[in-house]
């Protein structure tokens, strides 16, 4: 079936550095999402993105976070600067239509901030 890829699978960085998480969504999908899951805790919504714009974001989507999808390439989540509490697995998803459509998830990027 359709696949969403995430690069890298693991990233270890020092607190205060910048990190960019990359998502390669399903090719004809129009809606994109990022979710965060701290180890052993529940999944949390971060942001959804459509037509070049953030449609909705949660309170976890701090000012240090930004998303973009330049020229239809990767959908990226940038964190600058990173903090210890940003350590988590970040899942990207995409859907053809709006959120009521089936979302396809990537395998996640495990981010460790030291």
């Amino acid at each position: 079936g359709p696949k969403v890829l995430q690069i890298p699978s693991h990233q270890i960085i020092d607190m205060g550095q910048m990190v960019t998480l990359n998502c390669d969504p399903v090719s004809n999908h129009l809606y994109f999402y990022w979710y965060k899951q701290i180890l052993g805790q529940q999944m949390e919504f971060l942001v959804n993105f459509y037509n070049g714009k953030v449609m909705e974001k949660s309170k976890l989507f701090k000012d240090q976070f930004s998303v973009e999808r330049p020229d239809g390439s990767y959908f990226t989540l940038k964190i600058q600067p990173t903090a210890l509490e940003d350590s988590a697995v970040y899942f990207c998803a995409s859907s053809l239509g709006g959120p009521s459509y089936e979302q396809y998830f990537g395998p996640g990027t495990r981010l460790t901030v030291l």
Binding site: M43, F45, N48, M55, S58, F91, Q103, F105
Partner: protein, 110 residues
């Protein structure tokens, strides 16, 4: 904010038994989705069911909107059903901003 309670927290079955998972939420949901998270962490959308009953394969979801509850029934469980089942509610009616429950961890023994 929106509260989502899932029960039971964990469930252990023998292969072939049925599972009944519950999701209760604190305010009106315009979107309700069930997801499966594998032991390895990857996620799969199972059903979107804000009201009524929906079937797909061995899964049946029933949502009673005015009672703010939804159930996910898994019939004839298989070992490959083992994992965590997440319920997510979006009350907004506009843009998507879901709240997830903590999940039900299902283990199916052969």
């Amino acid at each position: 904010g929106q509260q989502v309670q899932q029960s039971p927290a964990s469930l252990v079955l023998q292969e072939g038994e049925n599972a009944e998972l519950q999701c209760n939420f604190s305010s009106t949901a315009t979107q309700l989705q069930w997801f499966y998270q594998s032991p390895g962490g990857s996620l799969v959308s199972l059903l979107s069911n804000p009201s009524g009953t929906k079937h797909t394969g061995r899964l049946t979801s029933t949502t009673v909107t005015k009672e703010r509850r939804s159930s996910l029934h898994i019939s004839s469980s298989q070992t490959t059903d083992s994992g965590t089942y997440l319920c997510a509610i979006d009350p907004s009616g506009g843009n998507y901003k879901p709240t997830f429950g903590k999940g039900t961890s299902l283990v199916v023994h052969p």
